[in-house]
Symmetry: C2
Subunit: 323 residues, 2 copies
């Protein structure tokens, strides 16, 4: 049983209903309507577990940066402006040598992201970190999974697969080179595309942040919009560092399903392409058209040199090993 | 280093500032001001770890009820009305025999509390559950720790020490009796005093829910209000079940410092006492005056038969063992 199936079977179908829940369980980020007030509250919660999401002994400062980058990226994927976060910290012991660099980096990264720590809980146990981010978005500017239309272009920000590459660098205990340093940085310091999402939002029909891998996340847009996505393998944006470290074949595989890149995947009508590219260029962020939304069975079709590829990878899935 | 000291030293002093944070880190519950809108957003996050907060092998339905009761109680202690919650669930494996009763009880308890599950994260690891509750409170109705005044009466709801008694019942593997069943129920199914807090709020100067033990939580009111609290040991409300199981001496000790009773501790001017008692009686909840706030060093003074008691317990503290 995969993570999505687990959530659907045990939790989503039983979740109650309230009129003030605009987007509820099953999305990366909930959208909630406060009493009075115009803006929607966006909330997202993410957990990192030692030995699952990072190797035992990882630098606590890097863990802090990764945790905040990941959870704020969910808000960015909705077009929301982050405001506050909470932290539930489960630690084997209250160890100053761990806490000091962790807390320092957490505060530093929070300041960079414009968010403030407003509460938390500290408990004893296996090193497990849960952060919840809160932000605000105007209802008409919220990026949704269900808004894609037939003919929309599919655009992704930055480069894909780097975070998976950074994980491999750690597993290989690879020597420090320019490429491995870049990939480790992409793994530990994801850069939520907050400003880009907000700038692009008026031009877009749908959007998501890529946390579970392009196939899985674009798959959410397909499922919720009732459309197929056709993408071309050769158009996936890859970093030179990833190609250098992993070779072009693995680089593409990881770009499709590696996960945790925290880049944006959005859809826009062809007429908006030039404007979208210009807005991204203004922010110095690459934006690449990788394919198009089409009528058809709601799934992602990958073509290479004009021919459909059999795709077996379905994006990163925490409970996928049980299948 | 205790939990409060850990939070203060590593996190609270570094937390940034935002004008929209009314009550931030260091309290059980944050109060946040949305853009536009009148009501304040109340958020609270709580973690339960297997082997720390409940025994390995505990009934998953009971864990679900305890988790929601505890986190919603933090909102009740602010006078807020709960609306939504999120769940970060770390599990050793996706085990239907555990998930099914857990998810069933979670949905049932959520419906009873009027809250809806809006999102979450599922990961692999040691069984660890983090819930965050969100609710709303009018600014003038929010119960604060810092509002107590000289001469205020100190009132507590329900009975104290029962949850600690329920823990002991489990540790002792005690036989099922009317008393042990009552104590286990108090441990696993805390009843957040949402309605009582809201009914009393207009009469009160300060309030908190008792999660860390009466001494610790009333101590927060003392510290933040700059006053001493004088309470009388003989006036602590004890359940017959607790006295039966633990004897009167341990019962009083646990009532002072056992923690996790999730009852209310509030302060009100003497003129409001009759009205407070009547409001509580309307809801069928006991409300007991246990002492008075006084000018003096901000700490809790416990008297027995008119004489001050030396108090060594400081409430339950997750990292207290390190001292």
């Amino acid at each position: 049983m995969g993570e999505f199936e687990l959530i659907r079977r045990y939790f989503a179908e039983r979740a109650g209903r309230r009129d003030d829940v605009v987007v509820g369980i099953g999305d990366d980020c909930a959208l909630l309507r406060p009493p009075g007030g115009d803006a929607l509250l966006a909330v997202s919660i993410d957990t990192l577990v030692e030995g699952v999401h990072f190797l035992p002994g990882s630098d606590p400062a890097r863990i802090a940066r990764r945790l905040l980058g990941a959870v704020v990226s969910d808000l960015a994927g909705m077009g929301a402006t982050p405001a506050w976060f909470t932290l539930a910290l489960t630690l084997p012991a209250a160890e100053p040598d761990w806490l000091e660099p962790f807390a320092h980096a957490l505060a530093e990264r929070a300041a960079e992201l414009g968010i403030v720590l407003v509460g938390g809980d500290t408990t004893r146990g296996q090193l497990t970190l849960t952060a919840q981010a809160h932000g605000w978005v105007a209802p008409q500017r919220a990026l949704r999974r269900d808004g894609a239309r037939d003919g929309d272009l599919i655009l992704v920000s930055g480069t894909l697969g780097d975070s998976r590459g950074g994980l491999q660098v750690q597993q290989d205990q690879a020597a420090a080179t320019e490429s491995t340093r870049f990939l480790l940085d992409r793994f530990f310091s994801p850069e939520p595309r907050i400003g880009l999402a907000q700038a692009l939002a008026p031009e877009l029909h749908a959007g998501i942040d890529i946390s579970d891998g392009l196939l899985a996340d674009l798959g959410h847009i397909c499922a919720q919009s009732g459309l197929a996505a056709q993408i071309e393998l050769e158009r996936l944006p890859l970093s030179p560092a990833l190609i250098d470290y992993a070779g072009p074949r693995r680089a593409r595989e990881w770009a499709l399903s590696g996960g945790e890149d925290f880049e944006l995947c959005v859809t826009a009508p062809p007429a908006a392409l030039a404007r979208c590219l210009a807005l991204a260029a203004e922010q110095g962020i690459a934006l690449t058209c990788i394919g198009q939304m089409r009528r058809g069975e709601p799934r992602v079709e990958v073509c290479s040199e004009g021919k459909p590829l059999p795709v077996s990878a379905h994006g990163y899935d925490h409970f996928g090993g049980d299948r």
